[in-house]
């Protein structure tokens, strides 16, 4: 029998935290974790092949720029027109941050309150599900009619998209009642408020972070979508504007910026999760 034939050891080694039971939470344990120089090299190599390949294919088949611009043209547009796009990034961020903040706070408070009253939760949950499943973009034309072409309808739309996502995930977290841990706190004479802050909230934290991450991504989608519907500013507005003027390199430069924004949101929550919710995994 050879040395490496001891199954217990080989299987124990393969556990790198990627087989976490709750799929939502695995986002915090697996994901971007760069290990060695070889891996970095491979990642760069693949990127060169993909981007270079696209450049080559587009040039080779003479694909016109109004159908698909070359990566190099997109990169050029990203650099040369960045000063034109930058203010619009600012507008979108204002909408996203304020809408998300409003939605997240309302969602968190509602989740914390509702889970304390099972009956209320039963009555309210269908409506929350309705809010989660309805694309809030559908309401944007109506909101514009009521509030005009400024920030207001967009911020409301972002809050409506992010809030229910935060709430439904946070509620799942707050529902994870561990009677033993609550009894422990009570045995030292903890008040209801202390039990909430010292036991329920930390227990719910991993799920709250999942909710915040999904909510902010949905908020970004909704903000850009709302900008495409109407109003003269924001990254979504740039998309419609550039495409109507067939400025495809600029159009894709905005798309690239949105991807970067989405990735930054993900990395931010991944980092927070690693720092504050790693005990879960």
């Amino acid at each position: 029998m050879s040395d490496d034939a001891i199954p217990e050891f080989s299987s124990a080694k393969s556990g790198d935290g990627s087989e976490v039971g709750i799929t939502n939470l695995s986002a915090f344990s697996s994901g971007p974790g760069i290990k060695s120089a070889r891996e970095v090299l491979a990642i760069i190599l693949v990127a060169i092949i993909v981007i270079g390949g696209a450049e080559f294919l587009i040039r080779f088949f003479n694909v016109p720029a109004y159908v698909l611009p070359t990566p190099s043209a997109v990169a050029m547009a990203f650099v040369t027109d960045f000063h034109l796009i930058l203010p619009h990034l600012g507008y979108t961020l204002v909408e996203l941050l304020s809408g998300f903040a409003i939605g997240a706070v309302i969602g968190l408070v509602m989740a914390a309150v509702i889970t304390q009253f099972p009956f209320v939760e039963k009555v309210v949950t269908p409506y929350i599900l309705l809010l989660v499943t309805t694309p809030m973009l559908a309401l944007v034309p109506l909101l514009i009619l009521r509030f005009g072409f400024g920030y207001t309808p967009r911020i409301i739309a972002v809050a409506l998209a992010a809030g229910p996502m935060v709430m439904i995930n946070a509620a799942t977290g707050f529902r994870r009642v561990d009677r033993g841990k609550i009894a422990l706190a009570r045995s030292y004479g903890a008040s209801t408020l202390q039990i909430f802050w010292k036991i329920r909230a930390p227990m719910a934290l991993p799920m709250i972070l999942v909710g915040l991450m999904i909510g902010s991504i949905f908020g970004l989608l909704t903000a850009v979508g709302a900008e495409m519907v109407g109003g003269g500013f924001g990254l979504g507005n740039r998309l419609t504007s550039y495409s109507s003027m067939i400025q495809m390199p600029q159009f894709f430069a905005v798309v690239l910026l949105l991807s970067i924004l989405g990735i930054l949101i993900y990395v931010l929550f991944f980092w927070i999760g690693k720092k504050w919710a790693s005990w879960e995994a």
Binding site: A185, S187, G189
Partner: protein, 276 residues
Amino acid sequence: MTGLGSTMPKLRVRGATKVYETRSGDLLALDRCSLDVMPGEIVSIVGPSGCGKTTLLWSMSGLHGLTGGEVLLDGKAITGPNPAIGMVFQEANLLPWRNLDSNIHFPFEIKREKPDREWIASLVSRVGLDGFGGRFPRELSGGMQQRAALVRALSFKPSVLLMDEPFGALDSFTREEMNHLVEEIWMDTRTTIVLITHSIEEAIFLSDRVVVLSPRPGRVANIYEVPFPRPRSMEIMATKEVFDLQNAIKREIVGEQKSRYAALQALPDAIPAPTH
């Protein structure tokens, strides 16, 4: 160990009765249990599963109310969680998002008191957890976790320590180690301890008296004195007296179950046969 003036029981359970309301009707879990625990005494409660041991202990801690009867601590009725009572739960029940130090300081955080750092440090090194303060519970073995839980329960110098099957989840070696640790700490502090256990051996090793509860509804079926000197060495634990006591208690528990079974067997005769 009954010193001068300590003739008053530390804990006094009088006619403790508990009825749980369930969907299928009321369930009598405890039926007029009475028990006195003297200061500095270690009392174990044993009995078949579901006999109301945990219900009895939790009502002593003030975490659960009673349907009837009362629990007195130093002569005063317990109506809710009491700062003089420390509790050790099944499993270690540490908070996984806190490191060991922070877990041990948790009671003080809730009570809004300053921890006695010297006392805690002495407890930590006594249970062999020096240098583990920054570790998180998931990084520690079950035995280490339960030791930390023991430190947490003793950190605020409770006059009564209630232990709810504290070592049931540990392997038998670790369990024996923990028993020695409890004995050692008790020799120092003389804290009054009430312990629930499934292990008769553990009950005899640790206790001055072993209380046997009957199957549900829990009643005090018998109380056995454990007269062996401490510390209880392996030699003492291997004597015939210990063995006889162990058997007597085991027979008591099994016998209670048997007579219950016999009663159930006899039952059909009393019920009129269904007519078809």
